[in-house]
């Protein structure tokens, strides 16, 4: 049984010929079929996956394999994959077959990884529960009446349920970390600019960052080794050397300063979540870290700031879905304007439309200064909060989300309550810092709790090590939901 093995274990099994990539791929395809009711995948292309597995097996037998060769990976349906549907979980792209590979897809292919399928998500990555998908909601393997979180809910559920050993995701305001927390797995959002955005369908360009959802920090390091790197096709990607992220794992934490922002432990934080985080901090103290309090005075404004900037960018980024060149077009219309209106009214879901409207309003003449410009200023202040905090500590820790996974449908009628799910993750995107969520316990109903770790710019090696050391002394990340053993 390989479905809950780490990537390193899978890789050595492949290299030792204990299992072939074909067998491994078949096994995961079998589980995807078996746990279809999770609705974690939008597209599974069995033949394509097996063909890639066959090539990988050949590479392995020829001794030309790397650490990810032959390992099946699931990709959020936001990454363009040549010749496959790339829908962004939207009706408007429900028929869109990408004619090119996103940079990160090309990198996985080069590494010899197998594309297992495309995972479900909130439409255009807008949502925190995966209920905004044209293809229906995803269920949380820990409690199928609960949401998996979002927007990378399909990727999170797939990894938590053992349907994929690893998955990619994107994080604009918490879309990797929050579902990782809700599904009891490890999620990594790298620094803005670390992973190419080329071929990743844009939601809010200045905040979007690709990353990964996996079983442990070590796996995250393996995946980041493949994903990270400068891409001349993405002008916002950063030309910094890419270290081997697995090499710094296991370094001693003695003397490391961990900052706790008191703003992350205030009103709205579920008591059980708060307690779990305190226990995790106690665990870290045993590892020799120094814990200090830090101030993030502007972080309480992160949510309103984000809900101006992200929709503003989205309103422009989503203008290209107009029914003219590709994607869904309304079947009956009287003229051009009518075609636009009908196509976009029918093609976008309610949450996407809400954000397009908010963003359009925020950028309109007469409102730009009051909303967009003001939000930009706030963003700078929040980044400065982090800068000041990092003068006194090396890593910031706190809860990933204020609660654990909630029931499906519980918040669909209350957008603001839904938005507040991302209260602790959003500031990290606004600042462009790297962040992780790692499993740190369960609440009384058996729903997983996530510990958020925030690192300094491009200090992913340290961040991953801090997560890894915790996972060496705890086993929350090894827990498996009932029925998925």
């Amino acid at each position: 049984m390989f479905h809950y093995k780490s990537l390193a274990e899978l890789s050595s099994a492949l290299h030792a010929k204990q299992v072939s990539s074909i067998e491994l791929t078949e096994a995961f395809l079998g589980r995807i079929e078996r746990f279809k009711q999770l609705n974690a995948f939008i597209t599974v292309d069995r033949e394509r996956a097996l063909a890639q597995a066959r090539v990988a097996d050949k590479r392995i037998s020829e001794g030309k394999a790397g650490p990810l060769t032959g390992i099946p990976v699931a990709h959020k349906d936001i990454f363009c994959t040549d010749g496959m549907l790339t829908t962004c979980a939207s009706k408007i792209l429900s028929n869109f077959v990408a004619p090119y590979d996103a940079t990160i897809i090309a990198r996985f292919k080069e590494a010899g990884a197998v594309i297992l399928g495309k995972t479900n998500m909130d439409e255009f990555a807008m949502g925190s529960s995966n209920e905004n998908s044209y293809f229906g909601p995803v269920k949380n393997p820990w409690d199928q009446a609960a949401v998996p979180g979002g927007s990378s809910g399909g990727s999170a559920a797939a990894v938590a349920g053992g349907l994929a050993p690893a998955a990619t995701g994107t994080d604009t305001g918490g879309s990797i970390r929050q579902p990782a927390a809700f599904c009891g797995i490890t999620g990594l959002k790298p620094s803005y600019g670390r992973v190419s955005r080329y071929g990743m369908v844009a939601f809010a360009s200045s905040l979007d960052q690709g990353g990964t959802l996996v079983r442990c920090a070590e796996d995250a390091a393996c995946i980041l080794n493949v994903m990270a790197g400068f891409d001349r096709r993405d002008s916002t990607s950063v030309d910094l050397p890419v270290p081997d992220y697995t090499q710094t794992l296991g370094h001693d934490l003695k003397g490391l300063r961990v900052g706790l922002p008191k703003e992350f432990f205030g009103e709205g934080l579920n008591t059980e979540v708060g307690q779990a985080i305190e226990q995790a901090i106690a665990e870290y103290k045993k590892l020799g870290v120094e814990v200090i309090d830090v101030d993030m005075p502007n972080c309480n404004l992160a949510v309103p700031c984000y809900y101006v900037l992200a929709p503003a960018e989205a309103s422009s980024n989503l203008a290209r879905y107009d029914g003219v060149r590709y994607g869904y077009r309304a079947s009956a219309y009287t003229d051009l304007l009518d075609m636009y209106k009908k196509t976009r009214s029918q093609g976008f879901g309610a949450e996407v439309k809400r954000r397009i409207l908010i963003g359009t309003y925020a950028l309109s003449a007469g409102y730009y200064d009051a909303y967009y410009l003001k939000a930009l200023k706030l963003r700078r202040l929040i980044a400065e909060d982090f800068k000041r905090a990092f003068e006194r500590c090396d890593v910031i820790a706190g809860p990933t989300a204020p609660t654990t996974a909630f029931r499906l449908g519980a918040k669909v009628d209350d957008p603001v309550a839904m938005y507040l799910n991302d209260i602790y993750t959003i500031p990290v995107n606004l600042a462009g810092l790297p962040g992780m969520s790692i499993p740190a316990g369960f609440d009384g109903t058996g729903h997983p709790i996530g510990l958020q770790l925030i690192g300094q710019y491009f200090k992913e090696p340290r961040l991953l090590n801090v997560a890894h050391r915790y996972q060496q002394v705890t086993d929350w990340h090894n827990k498996i939901p009932k029925g998925f053993e």
């Binding site: 790339t86 955005r197 001349r232 002008s235 422009s316 290209r320 107009d322 950028l363």
Partner: protein, 477 residues
């Protein structure tokens, strides 16, 4: 009441880069529709723009040439609107911080020079083309042009007449071709102009309400559209009405402008900084590098031609209209070694006549500078007369070879042997005794008749001056 027109121009020039402003697709004109549109130009989901550095270099070159401030830090912004030939639903342009600011262009109208301010010049991408004919009631979209780099050059409202507007436009047109940043082809749309026109009572300092004129893509249309619009606005004002702010389209067939959309119907473009593109930043070194590529500019060249070749202003103007023309002239002077004024007469006169007739540029001239030099040398050394030279040039233009071989083949060498000329003169006088008698009895205007007869007998080859001298001497007889 006396009225004054106030005119400002917005000129879009297509930059002569190989690839597009934000993609690697070719920016060449005239390809089969939609064959030069890559994933970025079509705005597929997930694609991102990457700035073409060559376009920035050209913008800086332009800025330096008009004495403008070059912004070391400029910002790309999105201009949002829906249109089928605008694939992203927004155009990437520059809004608050353009790359070039506060320059000027000097013009001259009727001998009076004037400085026209250039407010700004900014980089942006072009849209595609919508084709409304030949699609059975539907529209065709060609995205070959989508993403082509443009520099939008915005003037101050400094012009007061159609003459000044056209002079400014021509000056810009000349300049961008000199700088080799635009081919200036107005028919293909690589040099396009919109005009902002308003009128006000003479002496008033406040600006009147302006109308923006579109679709004026030739010098003639610019002149006619602005002239019409000034008249229209004066009529409105004098009729007691008020001019409304609007965009008006020029109809060249009816020679009038008509309202396209009012201020109320104007788009709210929702400009904001493009988050896909970091601000465009460069240092002094970059500007210095670009400055090294600046050619001698038209005004400087014109003055140098007047000084160095002792040419009148008119000749210098014609010869420096394009830098290709100027290079041709200078090469001719150098290669022929003849009097620069003689060379100027032939390049700006006869040769320019051929070019105009066949609508060719100097680069497409059938007679090259070395070939023309060969002809000028034969005029200077008296091998042929100026009149015969015109025939030789015609033969050269028609591909019959170089000057010397045409002169030899057609036996056009001038007769300069005085003895031979005297012999012909004697024969003419003997054969025209009646006219000789009349001449000697006072009808001196018959002198021309004798010259004509001699030239006819020598097939135009006799040296005209010598014929005159010999005839005068013999007629005095």
């Amino acid at each position: 009441m006396e009225w004054e027109a106030v005119i400002g121009l917005e000129v879009h020039i297509q930059l002569l880069t190989n690839s597009k402003m934000f993609s690697g697709a070719s920016a060449r004109y005239g390809a089969v529709p939609n064959t030069q549109a890559c994933a970025v130009d079509v705005a597929l989901p997930g694609v991102l723009p990457v700035m073409n550095v060559e376009a920035a270099r050209m913008a800086v070159k332009f800025g330096l040439a008009i004495g403008a401030k070059i912004n070391h830090h400029s910002v790309f912004a999105r201009k949002n609107y829906f249109y089928p030939d605008l694939p992203k639903g927004y155009q990437i342009s520059q809004y608050e911080l353009p790359i070039v600011q506060a320059g000027h262009v000097d013009i001259e109208v009727d001998g009076v020079s004037k400085r026209i301010g250039v407010t700004r010049a900014h980089l942006e991408e072009d849209a595609g083309k919508s084709l409304h004919e030949d699609f059975h009631g539907l529209s065709g979209i060609d995205l070959n042009r989508a993403g082509t780099p443009l520099l939008e050059i915005v003037s101050e409202p400094d012009m007061r007449s159609t003459g000044e507007a056209v002079a400014y436009l021509k000056k810009l047109h000349e300049l961008v071709r000199y700088l080799e940043i635009c081919d200036g082809n107005m028919q293909e749309g690589s040099f396009r102009c919109d005009a902002n026109v308003s009128v006000r009572p003479k002496g008033e300092t406040k600006l009147g309400t302006r109308a923006e004129l579109k679709n004026i893509n030739s010098f003639r249309f610019v002149e006619r559209a602005i002239a019409y619009e000034i008249e229209r606005q004066i009529d409105v004002c004098e009729g007691g009405g008020t001019v409304v702010q609007e965009t008006r389209l020029y109809d060249p067939n009816k020679d009038e402008t008509r309202s396209m959309r009012s201020k109320e119907e104007a788009h709210d473009y929702r400009y904001f900084p493009d988050p896909d593109l970091p601000p465009l930043e460069f240092d002094d070194e970059f500007i210095r590098e670009v400055a090294k590529t600046l050619p001698e500019l038209p005004d400087a060249k014109r003055e140098r031609f007047m000084r160095e070749y002792a040419l009148p202003a008119y000749d210098a103007g014609v010869l420096t209209a394009t830098h290709e023309m100027a290079n041709y002239y200078e090469e001719t002077v150098r290669a022929s070694g003849v009097d620069p004024k003689l060379a100027a007469n032939w390049v700006a006169g006869d040769l320019a006549g051929y070019l105009n007739k066949e609508n060719r540029t100097i680069a497409e001239s059938a007679v090259s500078a070395p070939m023309l030099s060969g002809l000028l040398r034969r005029i200077a050394d008296n091998t042929i007369s100026g009149k015969i030279a015109k025939d030789v040039l015609d033969a050269m233009w028609n591909g019959e070879g170089d000057a010397d071989s045409i002169i030899e083949k057609k036996g056009l060498t001038q007769i300069t042997d005085t003895g031979a000329i005297e012999k012909v003169v004697d024969e003419i006088l003997a054969a025209n005794s009646k006219q000789l008698e009349q001449y000697r009895s006072g009808q001196e205007k018959l002198f021309g008749y004798f010259v004509g007869q001699v030239m006819k007998a020598t097939a135009g080859k006799a040296n005209p001056k010598q014929v005159n001298d010999v005839l005068k001497r013999k007629l005095r007889g």
